[in-house]
């Protein structure tokens, strides 16, 4: 019920207030009476205790619905436990909002917790929000706007006026307000609220009165000084009098012209500003506060003119303008204030401890206004206080202590007498000691001193026109901004979104509301610097690496040639294998063979080993045996031949083939071919130990089979060469050489040491066979591990080229290099662009990874700990490291072209200016080059596959 009252009082007050600002009757006390009544009911005891403040309070409450609002908030506070009012406004708001629909049941609470409720109003933003919620949107936007604006005004006044310490208390420690406040604690809180209300009242008065003089002037009239607008003069009067400019016009025409004139408009704007947002400007907007800026200024109330000193004032009073106004006012019958100047800078001390409400009631508004400006200034040293005191005694000019004695050097003549003085701060000279003294007290000198020596020195600022304009502009901006905020709050509504915005820069918030763009940028930049930022732009290093890569990448024709030769060789080997198998069991498997032929004709059958996996010769008909053999072969590849190999031999009972399958290894399988590479390798897995006999057989039979698999129109001449020392045969078509090594998983079995010796003479060299097996495993490792790393394949190609070109790098064997690069990529923890990747490799080597004390390159294809680079002599390591170090620095200093041995690419057009990756350039790169830098490895692979499929399509 009480809450309902409050609520009612608030809305009512709100509407009334809106009306009041609109210029309607101000003395509508009845409209506001509800609010004090409600609060009176709530805080009866305290009020009784504080009767001394009653009148002021009445006045304050009558004027200030803000107070009612505070009371209203208090009702919420009761529901939502005062502890909720800690520093986080958001919590407050949420709870309040939640509590609100519950009609906020009344809660008799002896202590008035205004202090706890107060923090909610510490920001205009929150306040506005609250207003909106309370009024349920019933209020028009214009009303809310006016409200927000006014609030800012009063708020800033409380902050500045109310003797500093008073509002500061609830501001600084709002969270510490426990709900169990004692009675007298509550009393102080009440005082606070009261005082705030009173000061707001003052501010309000000040605002509506537009400076004390105005108020005084109107005192004889209605007593309501809020009529700021230029109103048409009373009809009875013939004189056309402009209230704002205090001039009369000869006729309606001139009066109209005056009203439309710039001078008038300017003044009017200034006055309005003073009314609406002048207080927010802090420095005193354009209004009364600004005019009072000069410390000891004297004011002519009549003409609304501020004079800087007594002399100036006297001159003004004597002046023609003043006389004119006096005459005019006499004519109009308007009251003429005394010619005694109103002192503006007289800074009557309002002591923070005791709120002097009576002071306000007495109507010395101008003095209070000036107090507020006075209080804004930082506390000064002794001398300033002294000055204040003197002013209190009625002196017009404050005594200024000379400053900056140290900076005035005396230029002495020959006799040691001071001839002249030089002020180093102001760069000026005097001959006279008095002039020096005057200078040291002077404003210019003090300003220089403030600027160059002591920043907190107080210098009386003469409000120049320019400064005033600046202040006005600032106030205007503030006003506009507040308005925008208020409007945005309305759009926003939900506090969750607000938090999301702060914490994560949530997207949904963005499109709403008319936001000033700089907010977006700023917060977005702050909030998500590490978020997903789309594609990384390409650096110059990247471009060089990619360009170099394109240069060393084998041309289409070369790839096709290799593809063709290898494919033919594989098919021929398959055919050979079939023939051997048939030869071994001519009769028993005749039907089987037919079946095999049929299988071979099937279009989906694998024709060669172009997928870089094992191309098994074993047909489906032999699946029973072949399955196990395939497993054996795979096991060999995985480096666990020891156990699986026996499985293979176990399966041999079913009539195994001598040649089980063929696989591409080395460059071909890894996709590392470079321009000019002509040698590729195939490894044929044999069932048993490959013998020289078998090798010879292959060498003699292969040409026939090669001729068989050739396409009809193909007239390539294949030459087959027997290389027993290598354990291989070499197929060559003149330009491309395919080395076909024979090996077997059985070769790895050391357990059968005795057996190996048995047919030692006939078996191919063991080491070569083991190498071939290792090559198989390396190929598999590469496909499984390295190829999937971003930029890895491209960098390995680049490094291969490097190793080919530079003697220092030649000792680095290809497999070790692959291990190195893939390890470096892997350790980066994220995708690297090609340029970064190359640099990182250089960093690793340059940082001493390959030096003697380094960890070595562990070969993942061996069971034991094997250093893939174990045999590198120290000098080579040293040279390698030194070379990498030099390269690294060259890359760092934009000489990557030297490392890559190429011409430097021209800079991109947009690379001008200090910022290397302006948006524009990034965009254009993305557009033109697509996925090139990142998906390079994959691109190459697919290219190869495409080649292959094209080939097969031709056939």
């Amino acid at each position: 019920m009480m809450a309902a009252n409050n609520y009612f009082g608030f809305t009512h007050g709100g509407t009334q207030y809106g009306a009041a600002t609109a210029g309607a009757a101000y003395g509508g006390q009845t409209g506001y009476a509800v609010a004090p009544a409600a609060t009176a009911a709530t805080y009866g005891t305290q009020r009784a205790a504080a009767t001394g403040y009653d009148t002021a309070y009445q006045a304050a409450a009558a004027t200030q619905d803000v107070y009612a609002a505070a009371a209203h908030a208090h009702a919420h506070a009761a529901v939502a436990a005062a502890s909720a009012y800690d520093a986080s406004k958001s919590a407050y708001y949420q709870q309040a909002a939640a509590a609100y629909p519950a009609a906020a049941p009344p809660q008799p609470q002896p202590t008035y917790d205004a202090a706890a409720a107060k923090p909610a109003y510490s920001t205009p933003a929150t306040y506005t929000q609250n207003t909106i919620v309370v009024q349920g949107g019933a209020r028009a936007g214009g009303g809310a706007k006016a409200y927000g604006g006014v609030y800012t005004h009063t708020h800033s006044h409380t902050a500045t006026t109310a003797a500093a310490s008073y509002p500061a208390q609830p501001y600084t420690a709002p969270a510490a307000q426990p709900p169990k406040q004692s009675a007298n604690r509550g009393n102080t809180a009440y005082d606070t609220a009261l005082y705030n209300a009173a000061t707001m009242y003052v501010a309000q008065q000040n605002k509506t009165g537009g400076g004390g003089g105005w108020k005084n002037y109107n005192k004889g009239g209605v007593g309501a000084g809020q009529q700021r607008r230029p109103k048409p003069p009373p009809k009875a009067q013939q004189l056309h009098y402009c209230d704002v400019c205090r001039i009369s016009c000869a006729g309606p025409q001139t009066y109209k012209e005056h009203l439309e004139g710039q001078k008038h408009k300017k003044k009017e704007a200034a006055v309005k500003l003073a009314a609406a947002g002048g207080g927010a400007g802090g420095a005193g907007g354009g209004g009364g506060a600004g005019r009072a800026g000069g410390g000891a200024a004297l004011r002519c109330e009549l003409c609304d003119v501020t004079c800087t000193g007594a002399d100036a004032y006297a001159a003004h009073v004597r002046g023609i303008k003043h006389q004119k106004v006096v005459k005019l006012h006499t004519m109009l019958g308007k009251p003429i204030p005394s010619t005694e100047p109103t002192k503006l800078g007289g800074a009557k001390k309002t002591v923070a401890g005791t709120p002097k409400i009576a002071f306000v009631a007495s109507g010395g508004l101008s003095t209070v206004a000036s107090t507020s400006t006075k209080e804004q200034k930082p506390p000064q040293g002794d001398k300033d206080k002294e000055g204040d005191e003197k002013e209190d005694e009625g002196e017009t000019e404050p005594e200024v202590q000379p400053v900056g004695q140290d900076y005035i050097e005396e230029i002495r003549g020959d006799d040691g007498k001071a001839l002249s003085f030089n002020c180093k701060l102001c760069d000026c000279k005097f001959n006279d000691p008095n002039a020096k003294e005057m200078h040291m007290k002077g404003r210019r000198h003090r300003l220089q001193y403030k600027k160059k020596v002591q920043p907190d020195l107080e210098v009386k600022v003469k409000p120049s026109m320019h400064q005033r304009k600046l202040a006005e502009a600032k106030a205007q901006r503030l006003l506009v901004r507040d308005e925008i905020w208020a409007r945005r709050r309305m759009h926003e509504g939900m506090e969750e979104e607000e938090r999301g915005y702060w914490e994560g820069g949530m997207e949904p918030w963005w499109p709403r509301g008319p936001l000033p763009p700089h907010h977006h940028h700023h917060h977005h930049g702050m909030g998500v610097p590490y978020g997903p930022v789309g594609r990384r732009p390409e650096t110059s290093d990247d471009r060089h690496v990619v360009a170099k890569h394109a240069e060393i990448y084998p041309p289409e024709q070369q790839l096709q040639d290799i593809q063709r030769v290898v494919s033919h060789t594989e098919k021929a080997l398959k055919s050979l294998s079939d023939a051997l198998a048939d030869h071994a069991r001519p009769k028993a498997q005749a039907g089987n063979k037919a079946q095999n032929d049929k299988k071979d004709d099937k279009p989906e059958g694998k024709e060669d080993g172009r997928d870089n996996q094992l191309f098994s010769f074993v047909g489906e008909g032999e699946a029973a045996a072949g399955g196990a053999e395939g497993a054996a072969a795979a096991a060999a590849g995985a480096g666990t031949a020891g156990t699986a190999g026996t499985a293979g031999t176990a399966a041999a009972a079913g009539g195994p083939r001598a040649l089980k399958g063929v696989m591409r290894v080395g460059l071909l399988a890894k996709g590392l071919l470079l321009r000019g590479d002509r040698d590729v390798r195939l490894v044929v897995l044999c069932h048993d130990r490959p013998t020289v006999t078998l090798l010879k057989r292959v060498a003699t039979d292969l040409p026939a089979h090669l001729a068989k698999v050739k396409a009809p129109g193909d007239d390539t001449k294949y030459k087959v060469e027997l290389l027993p020392a290598e354990g291989a045969v070499q197929v060559s078509d003149g330009s491309i050489n395919v080395l076909v090594s024979l090996t077997s998983a059985v070769m790895r079995e050391p357990a059968e040491g005795g057996d190996i010796k048995r047919d030692d003479k006939d078996v191919l060299p063991r080491q070569k066979c083991l190498d071939a097996l290792a090559a198989l495993r390396h190929a598999k490792w590469f496909q499984a591990r390295a190829a999937s790393l971003q930029s890895c394949v491209i960098i390995i190609r680049i490094m291969r080229d490097l190793c080919r070109r530079i003697p220092n790098w030649t000792p680095l064997n290809p497999y070790a290099m692959e291990l190195l690069v893939s390890g470096v990529m892997q350790s980066a923890g994220a995708a690297l662009s090609p340029g970064e990747a190359l640099r990182r490799v250089m960093e690793a080597v340059g940082g001493g990874l390959l030096l003697d004390h380094g960890p070595g390159l562990r070969d993942p294809c061996e069971k034991e700990l094997v250093d893939a680079l174990g045999n590198l002599p120290p000098q080579k390591r040293e040279d390698l490291t030194a070379s990498a170090q030099q390269f690294l620095r060259q890359i760092a200093f934009r000489q990557i072209h030297k490392v890559l041995d190429m011409e430097p690419l021209p800079k991109l057009k947009h690379a001008t200016g200090g910022w290397k990756f302006p948006r524009k350039r990034r965009r254009s790169n993305t557009d033109t080059e697509g996925d090139q830098p990142n998906g390079e490895g994959k691109v190459v692979k697919t290219e190869e596959k495409m080649d292959a499929s094209e080939n097969s399509a031709k056939k």
Partner: protein, 393 residues
Amino acid sequence: MVRGAGRGGRGMPGRGGMGRPPFNRPRVLMLRPPFDLILAEPAFPRCKPAPDDSALTQALLKRHAELCPTPAEQSAVLSLVTKLQTVLDNLVVAPGDFAACQLEEVRQVGSYKKGTMMAGKNVADIVVIMKTLPTKEAVEGLSNKVNEELNKLMRAEGAGSVSCGCHERGFTVTSSGAASAAVRVLVTTLHQNLRKLEPEVHLDYKVISSHLAAIRHSRWFEENAHHSSIKVLIRLLRDMCARHSGLEPLTPWMIDLLAHHCIMNNPARQALPINVAFRRALSLVAGGLFLPGCAGLPDPCEAAHARAHTALDLAAQDAAAATAQTLLRVVARGGHRYVLGLQAFEGGKDISTEITVWDGVVVSPLAPAYQETPEPMDTDDKDDEGVQDGVAA
């Protein structure tokens, strides 16, 4: 404006200012940390026995013992600092008739504060924050006042005398005694006064802000780098840098950060043994930690994304990396005694610039990569905003 609260006042003027839109600096995001073997351990598991590093460890510890200041030096500097602090504190609390400047705060910074002083360099640092602007006259006035007060104090104790000498950073108080000590009083001003500085009237802006930075550095150090291994490594690295011309430009603050990184930044977050950390430091600098285009070491005391090494100019960055690269290879060949300075190399020559032969392995220095080109190189990395550390080594 409520939101604006967090916006202003952060970082130094000059950084982020100058009307740069915040989006125009994406490169900060692009820079990567260099290859660091300690962090890349999983990718490069050790597959051969670790070398016996006890010789290096012994040498490091021995050298460190030599570098530690003697108790006499320590006590001399301690007493001078204490007295000076007393005098300055008095000026802060009760300036009396002293009007040359107003003092806000006095703080000890630098190697004295951090506990990383070196033998033979008995200079402590104290930063004086002035409320007023630091004009040269103010500095002189303060120096005279301090001199007077300090001498009064010394006379009372009968402990010799001090002398003050002004320079562009403030002034230095030197005590003449059995063990000489000196305190550099570095003058700075309140942060909000920084933009009011004028080059011809006041001390240099860079100097002033570097003194403010020194306070931040000391605080950071106190909080993060109190492990004694770090201090050991700092002394060793500082000594090494002082003796090799290429590494000389590295500021103490960079060395602090580097040492902290090398000791503490590892997967286990436990301090690494000194020999490992020493090798790591060399290896990181050799691996381009302080080269352009590298993320380097983020400066914890500057606004976001500042890198410690950008205070070096490009030629210095190149030289530092090149020197560290040569030294790394020398150490790898067992030449650590020369690198550490336990043994002078061929009549005091700089080993990082000489061709040396170790067991038949030739280790040669490297040519600089940086060239002064008429057209400025597009290194996009020339941050001159880095703040020089003004603290004594």
